[in-house]
Subunit: 333 residues, 2 copies
Amino acid sequence: MAATSPQRITLIGLGTIGMSMAALHLERSNTTVDVFDTRPDLKDHVLNTLPNFLGQGSRTTGFDPQRSASLVKSFIESGRLNIHNSLNTACASATIVQEQGPENIAFKESLWAEVESLAPPSAHLWTSTSGIAASLQQGSMRDKTRLLVVHPFNPPHTMPLLEIVPGPETASERVDFAREYFSVQGSRHRPVVIRKEIPGFVGNRLAFALFREACHLVQEDVVSAKDLDNILMASLGPRWAGNGVFESYQQGGGEGGIGAFIEKLSSTMQEVWDGLGKVNVLGDEETGWKDKVISQVNDTYGTLTPERLHEKEERLKDFVEVQGKTYGDSHKE
Amino acid sequence: MAATSPQRITLIGLGTIGMSMAALHLERSNTTVDVFDTRPDLKDHVLNTLPNFLGQGSRTTGFDPQRSASLVKSFIESGRLNIHNSLNTACASATIVQEQGPENIAFKESLWAEVESLAPPSAHLWTSTSGIAASLQQGSMRDKTRLLVVHPFNPPHTMPLLEIVPGPETASERVDFAREYFSVQGSRHRPVVIRKEIPGFVGNRLAFALFREACHLVQEDVVSAKDLDNILMASLGPRWAGNGVFESYQQGGGEGGIGAFIEKLSSTMQEVWDGLGKVNVLGDEETGWKDKVISQVNDTYGTLTPERLHEKEERLKDFVEVQGKTYGDSHKE
């Protein structure tokens, strides 16, 4: 069945990511969403929380809590959104089963064995894990070709990236289906297939590489946590929102492109690489930075208020909108 | 003299950065700019190139080459822009001397000794270097308290960041002046003072930390250069355009903030840190990635056309504009 056909998606685990995923799927016109979570107040939780993730269409008039709440109720009344207290009924008619449960291999391994016995054999099986590769989750499955990682970035209903990471046994048509599902016309999402299973996949590896150096620079008193954030927002953030790191340096090298850039910067670049911080988060060595970083970050930002979180999300949507803009004749290229 | 008072800025070196800097300074209403470069066609070069860096005010009606060209001519006629073939006349009345010459210690050391003998003793001395600390440039100066790094990000007239990096001997009032100069009301620039001299300062250290891992992932065939750029643009770019890395993780940890985030992700984070790529740009070891990365980047982007560069710059301006937007009541915080 084509990824553009009507789909029935089962979501297992309705935390923040699950709720955002529900909004993402419900935003498409031809989906039915079945949600399952072990929490006893699931229906109230959905009614109270899901409205905050909906309402993308009302940007010009602002977020309207009442309208979003009625939207959720109308989804339930029309049967587009179904709330389940049993995994069995939740999975029974699925074309896609997507889990965002605890990050625990044993949990996921046993979940997929159970899902396999409950869902139709054609259903696609997606894990939203940020750290546990598909090949580590499939130990108890009979058919290991169905499972793959579909790793969203927070918040999934707004952030364009989905990292699709097949395991060595995942069937290529399962990979194609996932990519096509998120590439549907009009979607703001941009799926990318990762060729090899690797810890942290690609997005978080890049983020953690930068974060390690950020923590080192704060630990060494080169800059405060707040000033480091300001530096990032005033330079690399907007640069990389418009161009990846490779295209930026292709430009930076002028006529000679990235080769000339690397050549010209080589001595500074090697000096930086040789001196990159080696802080650690586990173990006993070089973990002393944590107290300093955590206390500076808490002092600077405290608890983020709902207003601040709302502002962050609206701004993110504006950046994504600018990414989709065309300028002059450049879209004809 | 206060940084908000009228300033007379001498620019030494009129390459791309120098030209962009000229546009930055001319955009302020109370500046006079003196430019010096050893190229014999300096006047033609300024008349032909500077118009491309001006015209910020005409965003709604689009870039108008004729209007920008007349603007440059009117700056020259009114005496706000002066083109010099002698360093002596260029520096004679400066309140600020800013150099963006070759990245070469010997060049800069001898330049500053000469500038010191030509410019008024009160003039502020700024180097746009991306790699040579002030303390390495001041060897032949009598008064070492005047020199500091003011490192822009490309392109300076659009990119908000200026890294202000004093050396151990730089006077604190010189640092304050530079920060205040770029903090003037209505400016899109955001200066940040770095507390210690360190190779690459902060912005490029963070960029190079991420770039090293990016090159490693391409070398290992985890992802193509093009897909890696797409991943960055679809996730970390827009995220860091709106929030620094620390605030993002403060949010990622929910109620527990960044401390909870680090705790929750610690095993994946440490695994990523332990496995970060160790490619090098100099020496014989692990430099084999260069051919693969350079050829993939050239194949993907080729020579960036003027239309593409214009699009990139316009999009960057739009991101910076979104950064300055207020949402709901959040600006009252």
